[in-house]
Amino acid sequence: MSSLSSISSRHLSNTGLENLKLFIFNHHSTGRNRSYSLCAFARRTVWQQLPSMHRTPRETSRKLQTESSSNRSLPSTHVSSGEKVKQASKDVFYTGVVVAGISITGLLGYLIFRELFSSNSANGVYKDALKLCKNDIRVQSILGSPVKAHGETSRRGHRNHILSAEWKEAEAAGGDQHIIQVKFHVQGPFNRGTVYAEKNVTKGEYRTLIFQTDNKRERFSFLEPPEPQKSIFALA
């Protein structure tokens, strides 16, 4: 008896094992003739399982397919023109939102990239003018060392915004000229000042580059050579 059940269960799939469990659970408690019922169970299971065991997978799938297609009623493919218009307008709207988002992000990315990496930008002029300013002996003597630089102070105490303006100027010789103006603050241990620069970045030359202390006592242009200082020992 046990050998029969083991043979049958070896060939059987999960459903057979489930049946076996269910069978044992049901019949153990009822106390019926166990040997008879086990035998009957085995016969029943083998009879149920055998046809499917001899069927090839291709046949199975074909049969399943025909069964499912015959049973299922396909949903209607007809779409009313009102629904079409609704869906199309929805699509257009969402596409518009996506395109607007991408273009705004792209514009911001371009602006910040140009600002940070190009020398033809306000930040580039700031960097360059600051270098000139730090290397200038007059600034060093007025402000002391080290020289620190910053932009306009915002309400929340952030100072990395440099006041700037840029525009194009038409010139008879050489076409459009790109002009950038910046203004930033410098300070050292002794004093603080402001640098104002106006650069023609097309030609790469400064038109104006003025330093002025904030108490307005000192002002000079970097573009002009330093005035010859009179020695205190020289007799006037």
Binding site: G109, L111, L116, N123, V147, A149, E166, Q181, S221
Partner: protein, 177 residues
Amino acid sequence: MEEYAREPCPWRIVDDCGGAFTMGAIGGSVFQSIKGFRNAPSGITQRLAGSLSAIQQRAPIIGGNFAVWGGLFSTIDCSLVAIRKKEDPWNSISSGALTGAILAVRQGVPAMVGSAVIGGVLLAMIEGVGILFSRISSEQFKPISPLEEQQRDPRLFQTEGNSGGGGMFGFGAPAPQ
């Protein structure tokens, strides 16, 4: 002239921390009130109670998270200002990235890199918005040359050493008698 008198940097950390807490608490309250309202059992009283308890539970935590971000960001920003002796958009972008990395340090290196990229890009976008607005309104806030400033209001330049209006690039030369 008052804002020039004080160096913003070490104090700014406290300002930013508090500002970020407020922002997070208010924003979190709005968000959590809607969330609590939607998730509560039906009935207006139940929904309002759910909304209120969600605010009580979550808004201070969100505020605290924002405060940590803001405080750390500002600390790194101020450190970079002190090291580089220059304030420009690079400072805020790199401190955003560093803040992201530091706050994700317990989740491992890949999470740190991801968080740093998010922080850097976020701050770069904020800087980009700033640049965009300054470009739109650049006519209003055009930098004024000191020479132009003097023409507009010569009295500002009448200090004892320099009578103003006289020597354009004078070294504080005494006024001609």
